[in-house]
Each structure stands twice: as structure tokens, then as C-alpha cells.
Amino acid sequence: MNISLNLNGTATDWEVAPGQTLLQALRASGAFSVKLGCETGDCGSCTVLLDGQPVNSCVVPAARVNGSRVTTLEGLLGDDLMIRLQTELVEQGAVQCGYCIPGMLISLYALLKQGPPIDEETIRHALTGNLCRCTGYVKPVEAARAVAAVLEETS
């Protein structure tokens, strides 16, 4: 079936199978930041924004996003907030193998975009769907806190 969506700011038409997941459709379209991990909604490596909300694209039917806005990391590479977040994760040493990082960036971005209050608890809550087997969560949480602090100062 044919669907139309806004993918990373660009009007896009996709031919999708009725049983296909958004994860499969995104990777088929070349959005390789979206990683295939568990395919059961548990690990968060496939996290993308659907109309601004973080979702696990492996448990979203592709056909459902007809008429919606889908944002992957590819669409945020020039975004100031995303650049700040990426820089901070690297500087805090949060990135090891990197497999979880695109999903983690999307989840943290969605939280930071939503604005204050952002504290340790809200950050940990935002990361409940992102598993990291290398670094753990202390450094990502610290990185997000550092970005939140800068946002607060400049707002």
C-alpha cells in the first residue's frame, strides 16, 4: 500500500506492506541510524519521533504513519540542541560501541525539547526504554543534566 508522510522535514511517499514495521520501512528508506535490536519494544535502539513523541519503531506498524511526521537522527544532525547533546555524550565518555546511541539521543532530545522541569528523575524516566550494555546510564544522565543546565541558563 502507498502512504505519504513527512520524513525528516521532507514529504515522502512509501510503498509498504500491511504487516511491515516502521523500523523495517525506515531502514529500507536508508535511515540507518535506526538500529534493529530486540524487535520487541524493549531495547530502544529503534527509537524515533512520531509527531514529536518518542516511539519504538519496531512496535509501530509502518502503515499507521500515513499523514504523520517521523523524525530520525538523520533529520536532526544540524539541530543545535542535538549537536549539544551529542557533544556532551562524547565528552562525558558515554559512547562506547554506540549501538544504543541514536535511540538514546532521540529519547533525550524529546525530553529536552519538552523543557523544564528536567532533573535526574525525569531523565531516568525518559530513558526507561533505552538499554545500554556498555556504558550504563550514569554518564548519559550526566550528559543530559549538563545540557539541561545550559538550556536553563540561556532561557
Binding site: 500491511p18 504487516g19 519494544g41 518518542p54 516511539v55 512496535v59 506498524p61 502503515a63 499507521r64 526504554g129
Partner: protein
């Protein structure tokens, strides 16, 4: 990949039911799909109900809290009608369901219609006297949530659509709390207990105790409720509380499985019932006015 022939999108409830019945082959409704995409049930087509206009959360003129079946769990976490109803117990239960990205698309209707004994939204909604609204092509029906579940993975719906659930305005001021007991924060419930008490004039006027994951369907512990109803708070001694908790544990019918033994589950019903009733009664932060219409 899930073998599906067709993905249909409904724009209103009656159309959803009609699309479901149109054939050819076997159909199923799909909302968030967070259960269906894991289970890939055998069917030829699905009917997407996310745009059928049943995703709203509202306070009705009569003061009831209406939760549209397609309202997402994340909406229930943050919506101020929900956070302001019965001390925010429904928001709290939703916030413990799944993880943050799953809650963006998982719906309250999907949770109930999947009808697992461990469905995490069921106990708190049972404790707050929820009524279900069900649509057929040309009529709507309502029935208490207690009558909605027929067995594990089975509801009264057949091929009809759940439109939403309503919580009566009288419950807005009840004190309500639930506890989800799990092995890990991510896992499904080993046991869930929800308690709602309508307290007035130092007396428990109304009592509801609902249990999840300890019987073929989410259930109410009605004998234990009867013991509490009408009691003066001052008269609820630890002994009385022990009896109430033991009665509730006696009412459930848990299974042994790889997560926990039946005996452990039964014990936990007793522990959690006692803990929740005690906590609600000792909660001086009187929330009886919260969210009153």
C-alpha cells in the same frame, strides 16, 4: 514479517465495526499495536482505530472521567483530568506500564481488550468502578468493567469495538492507590493490587479492592470489600486489617508459573492489600477534594 493482507483505517466507530465485518477473511482491530506486533495474531486484515475519534480524555458534564479507548498511556500519565481524579491513581498506574516510548502509542483500550490476567490498567479501573462503552454498527452498549473480561485473552466484545471507559464522578474524591509487584521494573506484573476507599465522616463508606495477575481475569475481592464497608476508621485495628487481607488472599485463584508460585502470589495479595489500605487511611493529605468537578 507479520503476514497481513490489508491495513484498513477507520475514521469513526461505526465504520470500524463495518470494516471489521466486511471480510474477506479474519480481521482484528489494531490500536498502538504494541501487543499485536509482538504476537502477530493470525488474521488477514487489521482495522486501525487510532483515527476513529475515540482517543479523547474528558470530564463529562456529569463529572465522570471518560477515557477514550485509543487514548495513549502517556496521555493518561500527563492529562490533568486524569492526574486530578482520585489522587491521580490512574496516571500512576499508566506510568508503570511498559517504558516511555511504548507508552506513546500503547492505548488503554488495547491493554483492556488484550485481556491478559496481568493487564496493568485493569486493577485501578476496576477499583474506580469503570463502565465500558462498546460500539456496534448501529448501537452502543455499556456494561461494568467487571463483566467485560470473560477469560484469559477473552472479552465480551467479539467483533465489536471498545469505545472507552468512564469512571463515575463520585469516585473523583475517593482515595485510591495501586501497587504493581514485578521482578524487574520492566517486567509484567507478578501481582497487582488496587484499593479505592470513599471516606467520609471518619468512616469507610465505599471500599473497592481489585487484583491483577492472580486469577484468569482481573478481579474484585468483594468479600474483603464488604468487611471494610461501613467501618469506622478508628475501629480498623491491625487485627481487623489482617483479617481483611487474609480474606482478599482467599478470594484469588493464582497460577504457578516461571515468574512466581501460586503460594507467593497469594501471600503478596495479602501483604499488598494490607499495605495499601493502611497507607490510604493514614494519608492525612486529604485528597478528597482533588479534581472534584
Amino acid at each position: 514479517m507479520w503476514k497481513l493482507q490489508e491495513y484498513r483505517i477507520a475514521t469513526n466507530p461505526a465504520e470500524a465495526v463495518a470494516l471489521m465485518r466486511k471480510g474477506p477473511g479474519k480481521g482484528a482491530y489494531i490500536a498502538g499495536g504494541t501487543d499485536m506486533l509482538l504476537e502477530h495474531p493470525a488474521c488477514d486484515f487489521v482495522v486501525d482505530i487510532n483515527r476513529a475519534g475515540i482517543g479523547d480524555v474528558a470530564r463529562t458534564p456529569g463529572g465522570d472521567l471518560f477515557l477514550g479507548a485509543a487514548a495513549t498511556l502517556q496521555e493518561l500519565v500527563g492529562n490533568e483530568f486524569v492526574t486530578g481524579f482520585a489522587g491521580g491513581a490512574v496516571s500512576m498506574a499508566a506510568s508503570q506500564c511498559g517504558n516511555r516510548p511504548v507508552r506513546s502509542t500503547a492505548t488503554v483500550g488495547g491493554n483492556l481488550c488484550n485481556a491478559l490476567p496481568s493487564a496493568d490498567m485493569a486493577p485501578v479501573l476496576l477499583a474506580l468502578d469503570a463502565t465500558c462503552y462498546i460500539a456496534d454498527e448501529d448501537y452502543q452498549e455499556s456494561l461494568p468493567l467487571t463483566d467485560f473480561f470473560v477469560g484469559p485473552r477473552l472479552t465480551v466484545l467479539e467483533d465489536r469495538l471498545l469505545v472507552g471507559v468512564a469512571l463515575p464522578g463520585e469516585c473523583a474524591g475517593w482515595r485510591c492507590a495501586s501497587h504493581k509487584l514485578t521482578r524487574t521494573a520492566e517486567d509484567i506484573s507478578l501481582v497487582q493490587v488496587a484499593v479505592a476507599l470513599g471516606v467520609d465522616d471518619g468512616r469507610i463508606q465505599e471500599a473497592r479492592i481489585a487484583l491483577g495477575a492472580v486469577a484468569p481475569v482481573p478481579m474484585r475481592a468483594s468479600l474483603a470489600e464488604t468487611m471494610l464497608t461501613g467501618q469506622e476508621i478508628a475501629a480498623i485495628t491491625p487485627d481487623v486489617m489482617g483479617d481483611v487481607a487474609a480474606i482478599a488472599a482467599g478470594e484469588c485463584d493464582p497460577l504457578d508459573d516461571h515468574r512466581a508460585s501460586a503460594e507467593y502470589r497469594r501471600d503478596m495479595v495479602s501483604v499488598l492489600t494490607r499495605r495499601l489500605v493502611t497507607r490510604i487511611l493514614s494519608d492525612d493529605g486529604d485528597n478528597s477534594q482533588d479534581g472534584a468537578a
